[in-house]
């Protein structure tokens, strides 16, 4: 356990600390049990007691956003000199861990679904005038791993809180950006204007961040890299190239092309030229993607360098390399796949190599 609380401590007579979930630059996050309503919740408390006032303001902002793709704000309380935000608990992990922790990138079907749900949640927040400001993979919770049973944007509150630190860091130039823990995590997803004129950031900065996250999901790395080098590249904002595997496979190309078009629109240097969240929702609802269960297996055999079998829960599933998105898996590599009925063995499609 980390932070101010130990397991089984009870906050305000109502929330029992069950475990430590993690920490952002600004806050500790616990898994807790709401004893009054007998349900699991996420309990957040700022690391720095002086941030209290902003934490409260940020909670109020977060509570305005109400959508299935946004983690619900359930409660806010002050106990002594500590503040707490209670949020809907999502059983799972953040987008970074849940998807990119297992795969370098994901196939366009899965990516399209993530995109669609993310922009739905973002549109709901933009409808009530709330700019997230700190959208990044660690601020999106995913339930059910590759099955994507839930996709929820979180930490709207903390965005407001991080605001000042991000602004200070950005105004202090490259050195202070790379020495601020909050800024370093957010940097690869920050819009050019969020670095250059951080006090003038509008809804369109979130659109950029979604574009940067989606770029990373389909291609395996953030569009402008990480660290100090990213600052210059983001400010330049040359449209990023996609690795060739994104569109080289005829089976994925139609959807991949649609996705990369949308991503590049989000990454327009001129904030005015980026689509609105509502426009993105409209475009994402035109994307075609199947809703099929995902499995994890191991490459068991490869024949003629063209096809082979994947062992999935002790059963062989046929695959062809034409169904692979991205790097070709080798013998004994772990892969993620969907499977469909076939003669002799089921057939896998798509197949993505895992880390």
């Amino acid at each position: 356990m980390k932070g101010p609380h130990k397991k089984n401590e009870i906050v305000s007579g109502r929330y029992r600390i069950d475990g430590f979930l993690g920490e952002g630059g600004m806050q500790f996050v616990y898994r807790a049990h709401d004893l009054m309503l007998d349900r699991r919740v996420a309990l957040k408390t700022p690391k720095n007691a002086s941030a209290e006032k902003r934490f409260h303001r940020s909670a109020i902002v977060a509570a305005k956003v109400n959508h299935p793709n946004v983690a619900k704000t359930l409660d806010y309380l002050d106990v002594g000199d500590r503040a707490y935000l209670v949020e809907e608990y999502v059983s799972g992990s953040d987008l970074g861990q849940a998807l990119l922790g297992h795969a370098h990138y994901i196939d366009p079907y899965l990516a399209a679904r993530v995109f669609h749900h993310l922009v739905k949640g973002l549109a709901a927040s933009h409808h009530v005038g709330v700019v997230h400001r700190d959208l990044k993979p660690s601020n999106v919770m995913v339930g059910g791993g590759f099955q994507l049973r839930a996709i929820k944007i979180t930490d709207f509150g903390i965005a407001k809180l991080a605001d000042e630190e991000l602004t200070q860091a950005a105004e202090g130039g490259s050195d202070s950006i790379t020495s601020s823990r909050t800024a370093v995590g957010a940097l690869p997803y920050m819009a050019p204007e969020a670095i250059e004129t951080p006090r003038k950031v509008a809804l369109s900065a979130d659109i950029w961040s979604i574009g940067a996250m989606m770029y990373e999901l389909v291609s395996g790395k953030p569009p402008y890299g990480t660290g100090l080098k990213a600052v210059r590249a983001i400010l330049e904002a040359k449209p990023p190239e996609f690795p060739s595997f994104v569109t080289s496979n005829a089976q994925f190309a139609p959807l991949s092309n649609s996705l990369s078009d949308l991503i590049l629109k989000c990454l327009a240097k001129d904030a005015q030229k980026r689509p609105t969240a509502d426009q993105l929702v409209g475009q994402c609802s035109q994307l075609y993607y199947p809703m099929v269960e995902r499995h994890v297996g191991t490459i068991r055999t490869i024949r003629h360098n063209a096809w082979g079998f994947i062992a999935v829960d002790g059963t062989d599933v046929f695959f062809n390399f034409d169904s692979v998105y991205g790097a070709r898996p080798g013998l004994n590599d772990r892969v993620m796949l969907s499977k469909f009925p076939g003669g002799g063995a089921h057939r896998a499609h798509p197949v993505v190599k895992l880390r």
Binding site: L37, D38, R113, A124, G343, R347
Partner: protein, 360 residues
Amino acid sequence: MARSTKARFVLPTRYKPEGAGSSGGFGHVTFCRDLHLDRLVAIKFIQDPAESRRLKDEFQALLTLRSKHVVQVYDLVPGPEDTVGIVEEFIPGKDLFESDIPSSLNEYLRAIWQIASGIADIHEAKIIHRDIKPNNMKFDGEGIIKIFDFGLARAEGAEAVTKNFVGTRGFAAPELYGTNTVPFSRAVDTYAFGATALYLATRNLPKNILQQPPSALADGTFRGLNLGLRSSLADLLQATMEHDPAQRPLMSTIRDKIARQLLRGKHQALTVLNGKASYLNARNRVVKLELPSVGKIEISYDMYRFKVTAVSGEVAINNKPVVVGQEIPGSCVVALGGGHRQWFQRAYVTFDVSHPEVVL
């Protein structure tokens, strides 16, 4: 603090009453501003103190229920005379009783699909709502329907009996109008769903449905709605208002059938032959693949599924023999030419079936 006197009670200071309250179901509602989060909440007090404890138990089931279509419970507060107040999410705006007739079939289907999804979630948690009606539903700011007023809700089982009629005329199932103790099941919600679906389409209910108890819904009422409902869906909706509760379909079945029509014509199959992509969809519904003197196959989209409509010669789908009428699995390879032939005498076509998700 709140229980200091019996006659008067005081709300916790975080809840500041705003506007007038109202009464409905078994309870009284007070609208308050939650000062901690600066948002409006509805606080519902159960009027019968004897009911309070049991209702709290049943609310427990409701609390563990996760549904996009049920209002969120935030808190419990002590009320007057040992009662409990339930602090809920407040949804501003008109309820569905006052809403406009849907402007399109799609809008109507999305509305009843959401309601059916919400009730299916409630039933899955083994709760009977008992007061499903358009007045107890609202669209939130994002167009998502939320069901509220669980004041009459009951857990399923032996305790699901009632002595006096409770419910709402027009929406209460016929079996609820007994003079003796009446057992009831989740099918009362199904009936009320049917009446709600009928009301939303017409902003009215037929006279015989408004009788107490209601008499049978005229045959073909849903088919007669001028909405463009598919007849199979109209018949399923008609069945929700069957007099015999056992004849009413499950809410999960209804939800899935509505989704089926909602997604009608919206599927797409991507076919790739020699690296070239083409689509099979509502605009382009038939594809014929042929390798002369080896084999041929025709695949058609019937607006719901992709099916084999003709086949001859050597054809396999995912390495399996093909019969007319079979559905194409979500993703597959069609092979023309048997395994005994050389590669240049065979052709492979990949098929990928997908559809837009019902995303709210």
